[in-house]
């Protein structure tokens, strides 16, 4: 390829070609002949994503996160650490927030999954999406889909009366105070540090709800 055209490669294409190159090397054994590929196990699963039913047959190792992004092309859900530490991959499963990177797709037979694409659309934003825009609840935006999915679930958890680590009482109805929101959102990391604005966006939505 002409070197001057290198910039036309998108970051994703670059990553794909790098991966292929590495895989190609790995398949060569010492004599230079191609090794037999490792047999891959496949299995079936069906669930709905944002109301749409899907029947899939896939490599057993595929996480829910990779299924959403690479197979269903719902790229709103982001891969951050891929180890359940950052929260960028947060989605709602049967109304509960989970790290989609720490879940096999196969574990979700008959589940109802909601991603950021299912919460709202550019024309009809979810109130939490609108509040994030109004309060500048992001800078680079990479963690935002996970933050918003988590935030929606947090308000539902408070409304349902579920206590947190910072609740003074285990038995009284918790309130959406700043401390409560920060504790409950601790599984969503934001490297840009938009935390205070995220908490303000959530407070506004919580106020409207009550």
């Amino acid at each position: 390829m002409d070197e001057s055209n290198d910039y036309l490669f998108s970051r994703r294409e670059m990553l794909v070609s790098t991966t292929l190159a590495v895989t190609g090397l790995a398949l060569l054994n010492v004599t230079g002949a191609e090794a037999a590929p490792v047999p891959v196990s496949q299995a079936k699963v069906s669930f709905t994503v944002n109301g749409q039913p899907h029947q899939l047959e896939m490599d057993t190792r595929t996480t829910l996160l990779d299924t959403l992004r690479e197979h269903l092309h719902l790229t709103g859900t982001k891969k951050g650490c891929d180890h359940g530490q950052c929260g960028a991959c947060t989605v709602l499963v049967n109304g509960q927030r989970i790290n989609s990177c720490l879940s096999l797709a196969l574990q979700h037979q008959d589940d109802a999954i909601t991603t950021i694409e299912g919460l709202g659309t550019p024309d009809k934003l979810h109130p939490m999406q609108a509040a994030f825009i109004k309060h500048d609840g992001y800078q680079c935006g990479y963690c935002t889909p996970g933050q918003i999915c988590s935030a929606v679930a947090v308000l539902a958890e408070i409304k349902a009366g579920m206590p947190s680590h910072v609740s003074a009482s285990l038995l009284e109805q918790p309130q959406a105070t700043n401390m409560e929101l920060r504790e409950r959102m601790s599984g969503n990391i934001c490297r840009c540090g938009a935390y205070s604005n995220i908490a303000e966006a959530m407070s506004e939505v919580a106020g409207k709800d009550s």
């Binding site: 196990s41 190792r61 879940s103 196969l106 206590p163």
Partner: protein
């Protein structure tokens, strides 16, 4: 991740039988720890038995007046169960102090008990670790050991058990109900459930191969003030440096189990007779025989001070 075959089972007995049938299999419940370890190829099962939908997701009262917690009850559901919040507050508090909302929604009761250590040398496959590769040595003892164990450890392993929930369960005298591949069941007191590392740190519990946890049993509530005090490097979403799970009665007697110091929740029943005398006397006996490293010796004082704070809080 290494490739594996996969099956879903419908009953606990089916699960145990499937495991006996297929060498190299592992049970998968919530997956929050196992999948992470599989990505790092620290766990490499050839076959996954998904027990997620075998119906062990209920919390029921027992005839004795306690609770039977299904093995698959999530940390969220257990922490929020009203009788748990009311009568076993220590358990709710410990659960809510652990992990994040997302993880607690998937992590299960049995999975929490069986989660592996977070010792950084166990996670780093370039390092020597007797727990990960038996006989390879322990890089932690002369390494960064600030987070690691001070008691119950050995010259082969100083890893800690990372669970908050297990600390509460230990103070509550929980029992672990299981089914074996041949269909027989048993209940193991949590006090006897974990093994100390000795020279075999890769063997962490007394469970037999293919034995499946079906429930955790709590005896009837004992009243008292329930406190779980966790000390960590940040205020949320961090493992404990140390934690103190306490049930203190009006007369000053009580029970205390401690987390973050040992390969299992650390409780010494005979030391509890010293609780009315104070934190210093109690902690001296609780941690008798401790062998801290230079980096984690602070944990001894931290336990004593935290016990003092907890006893003080219980009086008010």
């Amino acid at each position: 991740m290494k490739t594996f075959t996969y099956e879903r089972v419908r009953t606990p007995a089916e699960a145990a039988a499937a495991a006996a049938r297929t060498p190299g299999s592992k049970f998968l419940a919530g997956g929050t720890n196992l999948l992470d370890l599989m990505k790092l190829e620290i766990e490499t099962p050839a076959h996954i038995i998904d027990v997620g939908k075998v119906g062990l997701d209920k919390i029921e009262p027992t005839p004795a007046g306690g609770l039977r917690i299904g093995a698959l009850v999530t940390n969220t559901d257990l922490a929020n169960h009203l009788p748990v919040r009311r009568d076993y507050g220590l358990l709710s508090r410990a659960l809510l102090a652990g992990a994040t909302g997302q993880l607690r929604n998937k992590a299960t009761t049995a999975g929490n008990l069986l989660q592996r250590t977070r010792c950084p040398y166990f996670y780093d496959t370039n390092q020597r670790c007797n727990k990960r590769v038996p006989g390879s040595g322990c890089a932690a003892i002369a390494g960064f050991s600030r987070q690691l164990g001070v008691i119950g450890t050995s010259n082969a392993c100083i890893a800690t058990h990372p669970s908050d929930m297990a600390v509460a369960m230990r103070a509550l005298d929980a029992g672990v109900e299981t089914v074996k591949a041949n269909g027989t069941t048993r209940t193991i007191p949590l006090a006897q459930f974990y093994r100390l590392p000795g020279q075999t740190p890769h063997l962490e519990t007394i469970l037999e191969k293919n034995e499946l946890i079906t429930a955790v049993l709590l005896p009837p509530p004992v009243g008292g003030v329930h406190i779980y005090q966790k000390v960590r490097d940040r205020a949320s979403y961090a493992f404990a440096l140390i934690s103190v799970g306490a049930i203190v009665q009006k007369d000053g007697t009580g029970r205390i189990a401690v987390g973050g110091v040992a390969p299992q929740p650390w409780r010494v029943e005979t030391a509890e007779q010293l609780l009315p005398a104070g934190a210093k006397e109690f902690t001296a006996q609780l941690l008798q025989g401790a062998r801290p490293t230079k980096e984690n010796a602070f944990k001894l004082a931290l336990v004593e001070n935290t016990v003092a704070a907890v006893l003080n809080e219980a009086r008010h």
